[in-house]
């Protein structure tokens, strides 16, 4: 029998029982839909997260005090005061870190800021005049504070869009006004664009001040929460990260790298790590969704067995007219595979559509830059898995059909 006619015969078999065929593939449709959605939304989430990380710039290195957390019980190690002024001096030496372009100490805190009678809980960031550049934050009004402000520990601040909204409710121009934060009167020199800083840091609720001002007058600490370092070129990121590690070890008197009281992450490390986490989550969910596929497969097997019994006479007739065991096997196997493949295609379309709707809802509802990703890998996986399910779960009934003796089959009432 030619393939053309095998396919035609299988199609006839399927279309004679349309509603049953449809109900049979429902399990496969649901399974594939779930897989497509999970993979698509997972890919969207990954793009979103990676996009934010990439906002930092590919040549960025982040130094954080404490040991790299290895698990939840290790979190205490994250709060450490090991990054000090002395480290900045060492890192800035060309002999220690030759390819360093920029080093910015970063401190963070939180408190209520007030203007006239309005109060708003803000995050405090202390950095240098380069903070806006490094975090890709754009100035909407005014200017960022300058290097002079940093060295003179000036009481100046750049504030985020939400801070403006909540403190200057009359629509008053905040530039030049003074807000009160941690008992300092900070003169506002600039306002950041909304959603400024496409990175992991969101500056909408932030008051950004020179780190010198933050440490000396506001937070009262003598260490830093991060060093943000940029290498001169992307190629020098890894070697610079290594130089930073070596310099800090020397500066902290550490000989055994496992006893480091700081950790150095490149933007690439961060992206890889977040990528690994989101893919692990995605594939975990795919595994869960696969249960639906398995159940669907059992349904296919069930219905195919019923079909084989129902069509015993037809099988006998075909054999009497010259069909070989192989012809019968192919016919029923093709029916099962076509059934599951059709289910797979419907599932792919349905899953992708739902993921597209989810993408639209997420980007509108949460105001994030969520892009819809058509998961080609999910589609190919879904289609091949559903065809495979047809082969596996259709295999047993098809074999039963092909093994029927023609006379038994013809005699069957």
């Amino acid at each position: 029998m030619t393939w053309k006619h095998s396919i035609k015969t299988a199609l006839t078999g399927l279309t004679t029982n349309r509603s049953r065929s449809f109900l049979t593939i429902l399990g496969i449709v649901i399974g594939i839909t779930a897989i497509m959605m999970v993979v698509s939304i997972g890919a969207g989430a990954q793009e979103l997260i990676l996009g934010q990380v990439q906002g930092l710039g590919t040549n960025t290195i982040i130094v954080t005090p404490g040991r790299e957390p290895t698990g939840p019980s290790d979190s205490a190690q994250m709060f450490s005061d090991s990054l000090k002024d002395k480290d900045i001096r060492e890192l800035m030496k060309l002999t220690n870190v030759p390819d360093l372009k920029v080093l910015m100490p970063l401190v963070a805190g939180a408190d209520s800021a007030s203007y006239k009678s309005e109060v708003y809980q803000v995050s405090i960031f202390g950095g240098t005049e380069l903070l806006a550049d490094i975090f890709d934050a754009k100035i909407a009004e005014g200017d960022f504070f300058a290097l002079d402000d940093v060295s003179s520990r000036a009481d100046v601040a750049v504030i985020g869009a939400k801070v403006v909204e909540h403190l200057f409710i009359d629509g008053e121009n905040p530039i030049g006004q003074k807000i009160k934060l941690k008992n300092r009167n900070l003169k506002i020199v600039g306002v950041l664009e909304k959603g400024g800083g496409g990175s992991l840091f969101n500056f909408d609720e932030a008051v950004v001040v020179p780190y010198t001002t933050a440490n000396n007058y506001m937070l009262g600490i003598k260490y830093y929460h991060h060093f943000i370092i940029q290498a001169k070129t992307d190629n020098q990121v890894q070697s610079t990260a290594e130089d930073v590690r070596r310099t800090l070890r020397e500066s902290h008197g550490i000989t055994d790298s496992s006893k480091d009281d700081f950790y150095v992450q490149t933007q690439e490390d961060l992206a890889n790590r977040l990528g690994t986490i989101t893919s692990a989550l995605t594939w975990f969910l795919v595994a869960v969704a696969s249960i639906a596929l398995f159940v669907g497969g059992v349904g296919i097997m069930n219905i195919m067995l019923v079909a084989v019994t129902e069509r015993t006479r037809e099988i006998g007739l075909r054999k009497a007219l010259g069909a070989t065991d192989r012809d019968i096997l192919t016919q029923f196997l093709l029916e099962a595979v076509m059934l599951t493949a059709i289910g797979g295609i419907i599932g792919i379309i349905l899953g992708a559509s739902l993921a597209l709707i989810a993408a639209i809802v997420l980007s509108k509802g949460l105001g994030v830059n969520w892009t819809f990703v058509f998961p080609w890998d999910g589609a190919i996986l879904g289609l091949s898995v559903s065809a495979l399910i047809g082969l596996i779960f259709g295999g047993y009934p098809a074999r039963q059909a092909s093994k029927k003796s023609p006379i038994e089959a013809l005699r069957y009432e």
Partner: protein, 238 residues
């Protein structure tokens, strides 16, 4: 030349107790002969037809079909032989439901080596030869019993086989349709030289054949020539 040679053919089933369905059956059928096999139910006539039609294999004895010792054939080779050299007509018609007359008649060609561009023409010719050209695109459910059986005959003819095995072809038909079917079968034998092996339990049907083998309890009781042969077309006015 003989198309069927059976020698000491035996068929037994072993389901707990050994049941002998056929025993020591020997006879030959010439090419172009019209043979009827008769016997009450349980006499083994259906078993014999299944063996002769290569649908089943004997447990003993020798069967030579058209000069070939088919006992050595694999099931695929038997399927091919059934397709090319044998046509079946069953009591229950066994047409595919929801499939047009023309498509039903084409069915054996799907499994044949006949080139696809001949299929349509062959199937049409076969349908016309049983006088159903006006029913070409009808479905079996729209046909009368006699018409269904004529479709089955057309299907048996489409591969141009040597032998046609007919298992109680008139068993489910009224006498008028039955005579019509017998007329077609006789016509195939006389005008087209097809060998016919007909199974029936009615003497009136069997007497359309040239020769009658009577079976009783799995053995041949008698093997006689029909003296006063009936001609269906005389009784049936087209």
């Amino acid at each position: 030349m003989n198309i069927i040679d059976v020698n000491n053919l035996k068929k037994s089933y072993d389901d707990g107790i050994d049941t002998i369905a056929l025993n020591k059956v020997s006879f030959s059928v010439r090419k172009g002969e019209f043979l009827a096999i008769m016997g009450p139910s349980g006499s083994g006539k259906s078993t014999l037809l299944h063996l002769l039609g290569l649908l089943d294999t004997p447990t003993g004895g020798r069967y030579t079909f058209n000069g070939k010792n088919v006992s050595t054939y694999t099931s695929d080779e038997l399927a091919d032989l059934r397709n090319r050299e044998i046509g079946f007509v069953f009591q229950m018609f066994n047409l595919l439901p929801r499939t047009s007359v023309l498509e039903n008649v084409k069915l054996p060609l799907y499994y044949s080596k006949v080139s696809e561009n001949e299929w349509e023409e062959r199937a049409r010719k076969a349908v016309i030869s049983v006088g159903l050209e006006h029913r070409m695109y009808h479905q079996p459910s729209e046909l009368s019993g006699g018409e269904k059986q004529r479709v089955a005959i057309a299907r048996a003819l489409v591969t141009d086989p040597e032998v046609i095995f007919a298992d109680e072809p008139t068993g489910n038909l009224d006498s008028k349709s039955g005579k019509n079917v017998m007329a077609i079968i006789q016509h195939l034998n006389e005008e087209h030289g097809k060998t016919i092996v007909l199974i029936t339990h009615e003497t009136s049907t069997a007497e359309h054949a040239e020769r009658i083998i009577r079976l009783m309890d799995g053995e041949i009781e008698s093997d006689t020539k029909v003296k006063k042969r009936l001609t269906a077309s005389d009784e049936f006015v087209k």
